[in-house]
């Protein structure tokens, strides 16, 4: 495959020295390094995948690197997001990443987009002269958005995705091969997306996949080697196995199978049935039916537990979270179990008394809590769908985090 562009930037003597280990390889050479300096790469996300991407692409001398992120560095990010550090906890991820990149290589330009990527801004952001977009996001709605916008604008999308100990890598470049939608036409429904208990990620995994994405980007820019177009690499860290599968272009693909001008960016949160980012106003509960969920505070929970009120407090977090912190006296049923039971009842495969819901009395007042209040609200919606009285169910505002803040300062937060 030939290089994506024919632009070349002059190198200073210092730059020739900096990149000497590149320049002495004939596959790169002076010409290739000058090409990299004239290249531009846009990174979606400055998290687990974005960290190694930003570091290595800066070090490699990509002249212009764009970063899209709206978040600030959190202490829990540091297990895998190695571009950030303790000194930048609480700081914008863009500022944190830029400082580290320019420290590594002051000769590059960093362009910052401090906003969540949305259907409204994607074409503007992607349209600002990027040779390659690299998808380092953590959610389905944004992945479909990145794909569709890249196909529409004819930009290659270097895809990487991670889950626990597994990773996927591909290059979706509709001009030359399939797009993400050829492989994954539709997202899994929200109920079948792995829950928190099954989630998590080995901190090194985004390093492995992110550096492979950076490798593919460099190959595309230099026009060397065999890019991962039409192929997907499946990586299993536990087995240390790599397998490559074929990804074929779907001639009936709803996105890359139609004219670019006809591609419309849609509401991807609705398409996927889940929010794209923390600040999203999307709610699956609001979407399914506009139900009014009543709330109580952690003080109400404390009072109910102490007074032996006729209230059942249900913890819908996942079992591994119970090891971190727990409110004594609660009934523990993870949200996915409630959802599974609800689906079984609604699908006519199970009777209520055959499911775990038999442990949740229908004639008592229920207080439901999770970590912060999202999963418990979903759980209330599920229960209401299978005959529980909405008038007697209450969502605990702020979840166990609020309990830690207001009731038990000794409790660890996560």
């Amino acid at each position: 495959m030939t290089s994506l562009h024919q632009r070349f930037a002059d190198l200073t003597n210092d730059e020739v020295k900096r990149y000497s280990r590149h320049v002495i390889m004939p596959e790169v050479g002076m010409e290739g390094q000058r090409r990299l300096k004239a290249s531009s790469v846009l990174l979606i996300g400055t998290g687990g995948l974005g960290s190694p991407l930003a570091l290595y692409l800066a070090a490699a001398g990509i002249g212009r690197i764009g970063l899209v992120d709206y978040d600030v560095v959190d202490f829990t990010n540091l297990q895998r997001q190695v571009i950030h550090g303790v000194s930048t906890v609480g700081v914008s991820k863009l500022e944190s990443a830029e400082a580290r990149m320019l420290d590594l290589n002051p000769d590059i330009e960093v362009v910052k987009y401090n906003e969540p990527l949305t259907s409204e801004n994607a074409l503007r952001v992607f349209g600002e002269d990027w040779d390659i977009v690299i998808d380092g996001t953590d959610n389905f709605p944004t992945r479909y958005l990145v794909n569709d916008a890249c196909v529409k604008l004819g930009i290659p999308n270097v895809y990487g995705s991670i889950f626990r100990f597994e990773g996927q890598l591909s290059v979706f470049y509709a001009d030359e091969g399939p797009c993400y939608r050829c492989m994954f036409p539709e997202p899994p429904p929200p109920g079948l997306v792995p829950s928190c208990a099954e989630g998590g990620v080995l901190g090194i995994l985004p390093g492995t996949i992110g550096t492979m994405q950076a490798t593919e980007a460099i190959k595309l820019l230099l026009g060397i080697g065999a890019p991962m177009i039409g192929r997907m690499m499946l990586y299993d860290a536990l087995e240390m196995s790599f397998q490559t599968i074929k990804v074929r272009k779907n001639p009936k693909c709803p996105v890359c199978g139609i004219a670019a001008g006809d591609i419309q960016l849609i509401d991807y949160e609705q398409f996927c049935g889940m929010p794209a980012h923390d600040h999203s106003e999307f709610s699956s509960v609001d979407e399914t039916e506009a139900i009014d969920i009543k709330t109580v505070t952690v003080h109400d929970v404390k009072a109910a537990l102490e007074n032996g009120d006729d209230v059942v407090v249900i913890d819908v977090r996942d079992p591994h979270e119970w090891d971190i912190s727990v409110i004594n006296g609660t009934l523990k049923i993870p949200k996915p179990d409630i959802q599974l039971a609800k689906n079984g009842i609604q699908g006519g495969r199970r009777l209520w008394e055959e499911t775990i819901l038999k442990d949740i009395p229908k004639d008592k007042t229920l207080y439901l809590h999770c970590r912060s209040g999202v999963r418990s609200a979903d759980s209330i919606a599920f229960l209401s769908e299978v005959g529980y009285d909405l008038g007697r169910m209450y969502n605990v505002e702020g979840g166990i985090l609020a309990w830690a803040d207001e009731i038990d300062p000794e409790m660890p937060k996560y």
């Binding site: 687990g48 995705s161 889950f163 996927q168 492989m183 899994p188 990620v201 599968i245 912060s372």
Partner: protein, 93 residues
Amino acid sequence: MAKIRIPTPLRAYTDGASDIDVSGNTVGEALGNLVDQHPDLRLHLFQDDELRSFVNIFIGDEDIRFMQGLDTEIEAGDSLRIIPSIAGGSACN
């Protein structure tokens, strides 16, 4: 007897097993045998009797969509693979 590779997100429904031996002469029969062995998987793979649209099944490196779908014949020793749709991240709300 063919083998099906279960991706991490679905191992919660196979008691943690990653490779499962299945019987059957076609992909459809093999998957049927798989969900007979692990009934909780059914909801994740099938909607009624149709394979869910986001479920990708590969034999070796080939997508069965570009073969004969569930009717694709398999031989003893074939390696089937379910390719998960994963989005990355570890957000817990």
